[in-house]
Amino acid sequence: MAFISSGYDPSKPMEGRISDIGPRHFGEYLPPVIKDNFGKWAYHEIIEPGVLLHVADSGDKTYTVRAGTARLMTVTHIREICDIADKFSGGYVRFTTRNNLEFQVETEEKAKELKAFLNDQKFDGGSYKFPVGGTGAGVTNIVHTQGWVHCHTPATDASGTVKATMDVVFDDFQDMKLPAPVRISMACCLNMCGAVHCSDIAILGIHRKPPILDHEYLDNLCEIPLAVAACPTGAVRPSKVEINGETYKTVAVKEERCMFCGNCYTMCPSMPLADKEGDGIALMVGGKISNRITKPAFSKVVVPFIPNEPPRWPTMTKVIKKILDTYAADANKYERLGDWANRIGWERFFEKCDLPFSEHLIDDFRDPAYYTWRQTTQFKW
């Protein structure tokens, strides 16, 4: 391999340097019909699952074909997307907030042709490359984090849990038979890069063992005061230990105070939490972002722990499917999962979804806990 220079000269780093130019302006990438009707859209319809029609005040129409992706995508795969966009949609393509692809085409016939084409594309291993769907009252693509693919703090994998889940709920991606949209999200640790805390169903990686202390290295790798200050519950304090006659400056952890958030590890690599038996998944439900009908809401933990079962996490996907199917059968039209649970009552939610209620589900974290306890005699048997 010969080093190829871009033109950058390390001996003169400032020469010709360009910085702080920001992103390209989005206006350069709008398909003509989108540019022409910017801010002048009249209404939209979902023609069939995965196909949207937008009509402008001018009468102009554009059809959108939406397809799911794994989000983790390679150069080769993205070039295939480019080939499709060049062939069908004038060389334009858009990514949605939930990692779907969208192609704009001019006619319904072309949209259906593109949909069929996308659904025909398969990986060598057999899965779809670009399954069309993700619209309306269904499950759309899962927003997720990096997991074991690329992150240093995960308690589980992200791409694998998402693949396993989407395989199980695939019908609901390609159809629109649920009472309302269901947004499933995945975050591989409590840092929640994926911000799953307001999702209809949230898959969340959690640790359950306090940090292991690498005493002999800790003081070299970490700022002890920062590690101490990082703990939200005050479980970490400065300490000294003696190993083989040598005294090391280190920290001590009051283990019963640890809530396994991993914040100490973020500040101090000598305090890892990851552990095969300790780590796994919590499931949360009932969150939403939208202001529609009811207020935005946080997700609630309904399953405190499911062990990691790679590669397909069968226990986790079974519980998700059960919750989704129970909701689908029982909720009213337009009722989001959390609104359904609120209406029937959470005691009934656990009963109907066949989920055990344990003490781990009673909040005991600071003030917000109080607002989750029942202060009424209005409950159900």
Partner: protein, 438 residues
């Protein structure tokens, strides 16, 4: 021929959903064949080694990535996240495997020319693996080595006129819904505001000077497609003040069954005939809609939840006096539990003509306060909780408003200030004693 055996990952190739394993294998093959004769600048077999290390995690139940070191490009404190494998001898292709965040065009619209140019850089100088896109919104290039960072930055800025995104304790790459580009609900041009603020605050984006991360997100209506209300320190959510526009003929067409409700979103199941009373009137959260052959909305009582508009998009349109609400302090649970954005500014005009100065004034006031008061690694939502909503409202320089609370306080522990009280707090004990014996 795969470099490592991956029996567990191979099981993720079956099933309908797109398999990232198949895709990474496809890339590994393409790099091995190298039909275009590319002089790869990082190890050719890094996709193979990525699968190898991931398979090891599937067996071990633990990650094999180490903490990032300090890597980046000259003059920036963010945009690159250092990443090293903790089994470099077994997987040399990914021993050094840093992430590069690249600023995405707002609304994530692309043409293939731009995408292909980005892919050319990443094929030559990186692993060929990406996230389209990261949770914050950036294009994420997964995996390269330190000597390539300046080269990638040079090519991005010189050849593609594109910058890096944010990471660390700075302004993170702002993100927006697709707004006016393809949505009839857009109450303001979320993409243009996002672009303008991104350009205005490039310094804050690239050079960490904040107590912790800070996120702007822009939702052009209360439906909230980018989840601004749940995950951004300042959320700009479109809204309106005047009346919902009604087309009574189209309402009749919905009632008559000629138009499918909710834009056809429920087509997968037979929910029966559309019932406007049950599906719109009764579900209105502020009960401001009635129907007696004609739809009437008491707009003064409307809370703009979007339900009636979403359900009958051909008949109802948002008002015309539009702008945005600004909410502050949303975040995921770490450290103090999750927080939703709290309403700071009920309504503000989104005015491009004065370069959005009114919005920038609020942003800068809020930042000044947080940089003064915030502790290290404290999100502004936590600073707000610690010091109070009123302190934020005052610092932001916006009027106090009943809309900023759900309900007034439950306790009378009011922190009165001396200037709130007639005569102030200075008193003379001797004067007091003229009326009260010791």
């Amino acid at each position: 021929m795969a470099k490592h055996k991956t029996p567990l990952l191979d099981q993720l190739e079956s099933g309908p959903w797109p398999s990232f394993v198949s895709d990474v294998k496809q890339e590994a093959d393409a790099r091995a064949k190298n039909e275009k004769g590319i002089d790869y600048q990082i190890p050719v077999d890094c996709p193979d080694d990525l699968l190898g290390v991931l398979e090891m995690s599937y067996t071990d139940g633990e990650t094999h990535w180490k903490h990032g070191g300090i890597v980046g490009v000259f003059g920036y404190g963010g945009g690159v996240i250092g990443r090293y494998c903790d089994q470099p001898e077994m997987f040399p292709g990914v021993a050094h495997f840093h992430t590069v965040r690249v600023a995405q065009p707002n609304g994530k619209w692309y043409n293939t020319q731009l995408l292909r140019s980005l892919m050319d850089i990443w094929e030559l100088r990186g692993s060929g693996l990406t996230n389209m896109h990261g949770a914050t919104g950036d294009i994420v290039f997964l995996g390269t080595t330190t000597p390539q960072l300046e080269e990638i930055f040079w090519e991005l800025t010189h050849d593609l006129d594109i910058d890096l995104g944010g990471s660390g304790s700075n302004l993170r790459t702002p993100a927006t819904c697709l707004g006016m580009s393809r949505c009839e609900y857009a109450c303001y041009d979320s993409q243009e505001l996002c672009y303008n603020l991104t350009m205005e605050y490039q310094d804050e984006l690239h050079r960490p000077a904040f107590p912790y991360k800070f996120k702007f997100k822009f939702d052009a209506c209360p439906n909230g497609c980018v989840a601004a209300i749940a995950r951004s320190d300042l959320s700009f959510i479109g809204t309106w003040k005047d009346e919902i526009r009604i087309d009574q003929e189209a309402v009749a067409a919905y009632v008559g069954g000629e138009i499918a409700p909710n834009a056809g979103a429920h087509a997968g199941r037979d929910w029966g005939k559309f019932d406007i009373q049950k599906e719109v009137v009764d579900l209105c959260p502020s009960k401001c809609i009635s129907y007696d052959g004609k739809l009437t909305i008491d707009n003064k009582e409307c809370v703009r939840c979007m339900h009636c508009i979403n359900t009958m998009p051909k008949a109802l349109r948002i008002g015309q006096e539009t702008g945005c609400s600004i909410l502050c302090g949303a975040k995921a649970p770490i450290l103090d539990g999750p927080q939703m954005g709290s309403l700071l500014v009920p309504f503000i005009e989104v005015n491009k003509d004065d370069d959005y100065q009114a919005i920038k004034d609020i942003v800068e006031n809020v930042w000044d306060w947080w940089m003064e008061e915030g502790k290290n690694r404290e999100r502004i939502g936590e600073t707000m909780k610690r010091l109070g909503m009123a302190a934020l409202v005052n610092a932001a320089g916006v009027p106090v408003d009943a809309r900023q609370v759900q309900e007034p306080r439950h306790n009378p522990y009011i922190f009165w200030k001396a200037e709130d009280v007639d005569g102030g707090w200075e008193r003379d004990i001797n004067d007091f004693r003229t009326r009260h014996q010791r």
